[in-house]
């Protein structure tokens, strides 16, 4: 079976949970070890590049800290799948080229399910349950920024 595992989290996972405030001054490689530690003892230790995160409603609410999406991107998270995302987290993720996928039926995923994504077709596949999910891939300006790899790269391309 192909795909990579997903890690399940709940509703309203705020950025203080993704990266608690006392670690914000650490160098990035040290900071990464604490990613989501209040929610999962094993995530930062065991996750592998290419894995997925599944959240509920309002993922990434709270503080504007870009270290939250950046840590997930640096760890190699392929995409975050959630019912909804908080606004600042959403734009920070676009600006650093981290894929966010909105899907209403996140309850259908189980911890460890193997997932695959095709961004162009807006298709997410759960290889463990053999179910397919459609999502709206980014469009317009958001698509341009995302496809450039982030806001800075987008600016470079415009030069």
């Amino acid at each position: 079976m192909s795909g990579q595992r997903c890690w399940i989290f709940g509703d309203n996972i705020d950025t203080d949970q993704i990266m608690p405030s006392q670690y914000l001054v650490l160098p990035m490689d040290e900071m990464l070890k604490h990613t989501l530690e209040t929610q999962s003892e094993s995530f930062a230790k065991q996750m592998e590049a290419g894995d997925f995160i599944v959240g509920g409603e309002n993922f990434g609410c709270g503080s504007s800290r870009e270290q939250a999406p950046l840590a997930l991107k640096k760890l190699g998270v392929r995409a975050i799948i959630a019912k909804s995302f908080a606004r600042i987290f959403f734009r920070n993720a676009i600006n650093i080229g981290l894929l966010l996928i909105e899907i209403p039926s996140v309850e259908e995923f189980s911890e460890g399910d193997l997932l695959e994504v095709n961004v162009k077709e807006g298709l997410l596949k759960d290889a463990t349950t053999s179910k397919n999910y459609n999502f709206f891939p980014p469009t317009g300006l958001v698509k341009d920024i995302f496809e450039s790899g982030g806001l800075i790269q987008y600016l470079d391309n415009k030069k």
């Binding site: 405030s21 006392q22 504007s64 606004r87 470079d156």
Partner: protein, 431 residues
Amino acid sequence: MNSMTITEKILAAHAGKESVSPGENLWVDVDYLMTHDVFGPDVVRIFQAEFGQDAKIWNKKRFALIPDHYIFTKDILANKNIEFLNDFAAKNELPYYYQPFTDRYSGVCHSTLAQEGFDVPGGLLIGTDSHTCTSGAFGMFSTGVGTTDGAFVLGTGKIWLNVPESIKVVFEGEMPKYLSAKDLILHLIGDIGVNGASYKAIEFTGGAIENMNMEGRMTLCNMVIEAGAKNGIIAADKVALDYIGDRAKGPIKIVNSDTGAKYCLVKRYNVQNIEPTVARPHSPDNKATARSEANTKIDRAYIGSCTGGSIADFTAAAEIVFGKKVAVDTFIVPATEKVNKQIKQVTFKEKTLYDIFVEAGCQIGLPSCAACLGGPEDTFARAKDGQIVISTTNRNFPGRMGSPKSFVYLASPFTTMASALTGKITDPRDL
């Protein structure tokens, strides 16, 4: 031309358009940019990596650099952040760097923006802090972003924004005694939920708003982010203009919503029906009345932050504690140096607020964000394992004020000080 809300009008003006509609993506010109000590260094690093080590800031006079988060700490990495900003500010001769440990130091960034005249009606302000929406109290568009956006604005003076739908919240009626702006916003957040206004603007209006001081209006707008909103906004009026006086850093343009402006939701409240309110652990929307929590014992009380550290907040707290002693550890943290001076000048019954607090047994800290967001281990009033805290701050996620094993109740300065006197959550009307 179609009817527009204040938010739509300000965004249109800054995009050079006649009119805009919700859902549109725009490139807008930024009037003011703010960053602080926790995210400022990354803003600068991204800025220098992209625009060059010696790149010019788009407009130095429109850039407020306000360290406030981790100031009074021995933490080496936090201190390095300040040193980094000191160097950057000196090299670029920044006119608005509020440098710690000098007479330029101010304190909490959102309070400082208002005090220093960066909050200007009709303007557009971007900050790398989620509570940047505070500045909307002055009838301007303001919102929080990340460090990449901050660096982009520093280099170009522009940002992309999606035009939000607007929610209108009407607070009618005369404010009862011991009710404050914090009660109103906790009530609203409890009503619509922590994502009840996601991506949207919240526009406050009504008689209770017209009679509210700027500190209260700032508390309302500050906490719209706790309902997920992009910005909070209140049309500027005489109260706002009187506060601003001659300190505005740029042109003032009073903007009002058109009569036919569209709102995706309208909420109406009579403030006479709202009671002193708390948000229980661990979410700002976990609403309860102070009375219904009256048996909850507390270990400490905290009065400070951008939503509870103003002279208006301390005047309210002093009225409650005057001539009495607190029953639990009670921490007073003025938002800014200016407020720190004011508490030594402003009196209640011929005693300064400072003397009232000291005689009551409160501990007074130095102006900064302090324990509002936990911070380094040696932060003043940082919450410890198992402690139950009642606080005038704006967020009570697990670990927000320090230990992930602490419990934070959010409340007004009246309710927080009333609870400090009894050692359990107390409605100020029941003292």
